[in-house]
Every structure is written in structure tokens, then in C-alpha cells.
């Protein structure tokens, strides 16, 4: 079966995010008020062929741990679902 995977990589809590801080500082200039805790991360999508959803998740976790995220500064959230 084919599954769609979404990996959201974000900086760990406590790690300074200069990109997020810059975006946040720009918002008032554009007239947006009341927005805070802006954090910039990345989203990575791919499709995986596996026997079942559990198998697809196992592969996605391994790819994320070994390549897509750096555990020193980042954490990842993985979403797996049937291919659309």
C-alpha cells in the first residue's frame, strides 16, 4: 500500500529562533496585532510503499531521525495517512 507522510520539523523549545523572531517583529508594521510566539520550521512530504500504516510510520520515523531532523536543535511531528 501507498501512504502519504508529512514530517513537520521545528526547533526544540528553548532554542532561539531568529527567523521566527524576525517575522514576529515585522507583523506590527503590517498592521497585525496580538500575534506572538512565532516559530519557523519546515514541512517535508513524501510517499512511502509499505504493508500497512504501522510499517510506513516506522520507515518515516527512521528517515526523520537519521536525516530530516537534527535532534540537537530540532524535533519532528510525523503524520501518516493513506495516499490520496
Amino acid at each position: 500500500m501507498r501512504f502519504d507522510v508529512l514530517v513537520e520539523v521545528k526547533l526544540r523549545p528553548g532554542i532561539a529562533d531568529p527567523q521566527g523572531a524576525t517575522v514576529e517583529r515585522a507583523l506590527p508594521a503590517l498592521g497585525f496585532a496580538g500575534i506572538d510566539t512565532v516559530r519557523v520550521g519546515k514541512a517535508i512530504r513524501f510517499a512511502v510503499e509499505a504493508a500497512d500504516e504501522e510499517g510506513a510510520r516506522t520507515q518515516a520515523v527512521e528517515v526523520t531521525d537519521r536525516l530530516l531532523s537534527n535532534p540537537v536543535i530540532e524535533e519532528a511531528e510525523i503524520t501518516v495517512g493513506p495516499a490520496r
Binding site: 532561539a16 531568529p18 536525516l67 540537537v72
Partner: protein, 233 residues
């Protein structure tokens, strides 16, 4: 015997010729090593130079870490061979787990291309052996992701084990504790963001990098069998 230094070239590396020229001017036989190489046999030291290995895609060093040469670099390092990562090379060494921590985007989000003053903090590394702690050097930096980051336990260990090799006199990029370079436990693997090869001739505006490159060649010389350790052994 002349020391043989391998300078690793990944697709996107762009400081390899500067390093070869600087080491060559000090009498070393420096040669380029393609990232697909699976052996470093015959080399006395290895330098991972600056640039944008594999385009810095995903994260700097994230893809370079899987180049075939990195397994050979890990073996070379485990045997005590001198390994120095400069700028992007430092990022590759952290991604490969040969050095602790990570290099984040600069605080302030500026790409920094300027000459800074760094302080040598220890002579217990292949890049600073024989250099007095406290020595200040003017060396260029050229990076967007040079903001050294690690957790508190790692920082405490780096301090306790005398593995902070360089600090910035004025922190330009937000690095924790002003760290500009660190070493592994053995002191034979060193990573630093500043470029000593760009401070290796008067015409470049500074010759302060020479003392570091000479220290590296001295360590390489011990390995090649031309130095005092080999004679004593």
C-alpha cells in the same frame, strides 16, 4: 618527510584551493580528496574546508554526512588522526556526530563576512598545540549558520574537559558562551567557524592563521613519522 594533508571536496565545497595553497605555502603536500573516496590511506591529516556541501540543502552538513568519504574520516579520527573542519566543514563534523552540538542560523539573521578577533582557549588540540592560551588572532568569518548551540550538559562537559578551543572576543553570531571552535575528547578533531586559510599571507590582510595551520602540520608530522614522537618511539 613532508606531511600529506587531504582536503575533502564535496559537491558545493568552495574553499578547497585556498586551504591547499595555504598549507602548500607552509611546506605541506596538500591534495584534494573527492567525497566519493572510501579511503584516506597514506594521509597524515584531513581538512574539511568551507563552502556549501551538497548545496547546504535540508541543513548545512546534513547530506554531506552521508558521503562515502565520511566513513573513512570517522575511522581516521577514531585512530587519532588529525581532522579539522573549517566553517561548512565544522557543520559537517557536527552533523556526522564527530563533534558535539549544532550550528544554528546567526542571531540577527545576518550573513557575516568580516574579520573577527578570536581567543585561543586551550593548546590541547591539533590546531592549537604549542599556541599559548589567551593568544588573540584576527581571522575572517564568512557564514550564515555559525551560531554554535548545544545543551547545558554538553556545554558543561566541553568546559570541564577543556574542549572549547576558540572563543570570539566579541560574539558576532549568538554562539553559546561565545564559542568559535570545539574539539572532540582526544583533541584530534577540531571544528571552527573562522577561516585560518584566509589569514595566511600578508596580502590577505592577516597572517594570524599561520600559527594554527603550522600546529596542524606539526600534528600531521608526528603521524607521518617525521616528528619527535616517532623518533622517541
Amino acid at each position: 618527510m613532508t606531511s600529506r594533508v587531504g582536503v575533502v571536496v564535496f559537491p558545493g565545497t568552495n574553499c578547497e584551493h585556498d586551504v591547499v595553497a595555504a598549507l602548500g605555502s607552509l611546506g605541506a603536500a596538500a591534495e584534494l580528496v573527492w567525497h566519493g573516496a572510501d579511503s584516506l590511506a597514506g594521509l597524515d591529516a584531513v581538512v574539511l574546508p568551507g563552502g556549501f556541501a551538497h548545496g547546504d540543502y535540508l541543513r548545512p552538513g546534513a547530506l554531506a554526512r552521508f558521503s562515502p568519504v565520511m566513513e573513512a574520516v570517522a575511522r581516521f579520527a577514531a585512530e587519532g588522526g588529525p581532522v579539522v573542519g573549517i566553517c561548512n566543514g565544522f557543520q559537517v563534523l557536527t552533523e556526522a556526530g564527530l563533534l558535539p552540538g549544532a550550528l544554528q542560523k546567526n542571531a540577527g539573521l545576518r550573513f557575516l563576512c568580516t574579520t573577527v578577533t578570536i581567543r585561543v582557549e586551550t593548546s590541547r588540540s591539533v590546531l592549537t598545540s604549542g599556541v599559548a592560551p589567551g593568544t588573540e588572532l584576527r581571522i575572517p568569518i564568512n557564514h550564515f549558520e555559525g551560531n554554535y548551540t548545544c545543551d547545558e550538559d554538553t556545554l558543561a562537559r566541553l568546559r570541564d574537559e577543556d574542549r572549547i578551543v576558540f572563543r570570539y572576543v566579541e560574539n558576532p553570531n549568538g554562539s553559546v558562551d561565545g564559542i568559535a571552535g570545539v574539539s572532540n575528547e582526544g583533541g584530534n578533531v577540531v571544528g571552527l567557524m573562522p577561516h585560518p586559510e584566509r589569514a595566511s599571507a600578508a596580502i590577505l590582510g592577516s597572517t594570524d592563521g599561520i600559527v594554527l595551520l603550522r600546529a596542524l602540520l606539526a600534528s600531521a608530522g608526528l603521524r607521518s613519522g617525521s616528528g619527535p614522537a616517532a623518533l622517541a618511539g
